[in-house]
Amino acid sequence: MMAGMLLTGCGPSANRYFLIESSLRAHDPQGADVIVQRAEKDYGEKSRVLYGMDRGMTLQLAGDYQQSNMVLEQAEEEVDRLYTRKVRTETLAFMTNDTALPYEGDPYEQVLINVLKALNYAVLSQWQDALVEARRIDHRLNVLSDKTKDKNAYRDDGFARYLSGILYESTGDVNNAFIAYRNAYETFESTRAWSHTGVPPQLRTDLLRTAEALHFTQEFAEYQQVFPDTKWETSEALQHLAQVVVISYNGRAPRKEDQFLDLPISLDALQLVLLNRGFSQANRQSNRAVDSVLYGLNGRVVRVALPRLVPQKTHVPVDTVSLIQENGTRVTLNTELVQSVTALADKALSERMAGITVKALARAATKFALAEGATRGAQHAAGKDAAPWVGLLVGLLTKGLAVVSEEADKRSWQTLPDEIHLARVWVPPGRYQVANQPISGPHDPLKPEVMRTLSLGPGETAVLIQRVMP
């Protein structure tokens, strides 16, 4: 029963994400959403937050923004609740593996919950609600930077700040927009080394425009000095135009896999591990049963599982969107990289790795001691005659179980893209057709040109969201 409990839940998720990605590639976000919805029970109680994240994304892509907000709100509330850790759950996880812990998401994923909600509200033109999310983003990031002492860690989010600025400016709050743009700029600059995301060229024009509009002469002069070649237009010039913001999710977020370390604690065991490694790959699911029997019989091998990130890089450096006015005028937008989710995931995992490793080693030692205790206890109880074979059997079971139950926590928000791109343009008010350029050439049958119609009044903002698969 216990083995059954411990072994559940790693296989189906890989399959699920494969199916989701296939649906997205076939331009069927509704299908992707149905897959997540049907898998709700498979996610289980421990992964309620993950379900909310995955579902929130597929619902957004499927165009059901209200429902997306509902599940994301639930996920956010659950994250809040998980602040309080239960000793009981922590102990169970310590005895088995980290997948027994409730998933609360990495800090960057928690920020992205608010980012997705803000985008949903913006698409629905519920600007006041979008601003609530902008305020929550600000609060979440403030708490995070207070908590995180390491200046080089993930403690602020350039894209989330930038999006907040866009939302503020779209509602006429230029002052808050400028503050958000400035924070975004400083974050992009300070995290450039590991985030692989430079300051988006569009942000430079936004800083110059808002600084000028607010008559912040000193800041304006400073930014002009830093970006001497940036062309920009004043707020006054844009006043009677309409704004189009394109958010493009490109590619697939990285996945995690197990990286097993078999630690021999005797010379015999070392030979066994070396011999066994000659035959099989430790990280393959099918070989784990064999390993557990072998190491269980030997009784002197402890296994430690650590998560390893597997990037799934997108092949789309720039995405292009065209806006075609009724008179045939065409405006072409090129998106700019604003967030590398892979870089964020990599950073988050590397920050937690030391803690994960220490915990995994302590767990391995405890499991070994418990198995050893159970074996000797059983031998003693069985009496002199039966002791050798009872000991062998119990040792095989308990130590084998210790090996087989070892598994890294491979959960992550996998419906996210590899990269998030953004484009922003001001156009004369009117009706527009939106066309996504085929990214992999005109021969790609899976990527027909998607057409949407926009009707824009002066001063209005439209937010478009699209998913581009590699």
């Binding site: 309080t84 169970l92 074996t375 003693h380």
Partner: protein, 203 residues
């Protein structure tokens, strides 16, 4: 003997950990709608009701009401305008507006007219009556009462948080504006402060 005990203890601990805590049930208790229920610390029905009650009461105690009644020999006509949510929460402003409208109407000291959203619906109904209703029952357009004052305001929050303790400060500003002169005849403010503490560890 000691070895055996250790083995048994290990197994017992394992089983206890695995079996513990599956039993949870839903319990429902009916309470009076006036009972204060602070569950999450967020803006709730109690805040909405209490703020509306106390602020409308305060607004109607100020001299602008008597000054108006004295000079015009009738009750002032009030409409509720936009209540802007600039807080950290998705507050259903409509509930708060409804609470304000209820308090204003029930005070019997002012004449209260329908707000913008309601007016659209009423006008559509009158247009339809003009086309489809019996002539003697039709309601004519152009007979609406124009408001003398508009009540508008904001709900803002200041949020501070560290180590699982959150201090949420709500500030609700309401003002009564003379629609003819744009003069602000009354300015009310209500502040609510909540401290929400979360434990880091429980058993």
């Amino acid at each position: 003997m000691i070895v055996m005990d250790r083995g048994r203890i290990g197994l017992v601990v394992l089983m206890a950990v695995l079996m513990a805590g599956c039993a949870q049930e839903t319990k429902i208790t009916r309470v009076d709608s006036g009972v204060v229920t602070d569950l999450s610390g967020r803006w709730n029905d109690t805040d909405s009701r209490m703020v509306a009650e106390s602020m409308v009461k305060e607004a109607l105690e100020y001299p602008w009401l008597n000054t108006f009644s004295g000079s015009k020999h009738r009750q002032p006509v009030v409409v509720v305008g936009t209540i802007l949510n600039s807080s950290h929460e998705h507050i259903d402003v409509n509930t708060f507006v409804a609470d304000l409208e209820r308090e204003l109407t029930n005070s019997q000291k002012v004449t209260f007219v329908a707000g913008k959203g309601d007016r659209e619906e009423l006008r559509t109904e009158r247009k339809e009556q003009a086309m489809y209703a019996r002539e003697d029952t039709q309601k004519a357009p152009g007979k609406e009462i124009g408001a003398d004052y508009m009540m508008k305001g904001t709900i803002a929050t200041i949020l501070d948080e560290a180590e699982g303790t959150k201090a949420m400060f709500y500030q609700i500003d309401l003002q009564m504006v003379d629609l003819e002169s744009n003069a602000k005849v009354w300015f009310g403010q209500k502040k609510i402060k909540k401290v929400i503490e979360k434990k880091r560890t429980i058993f």
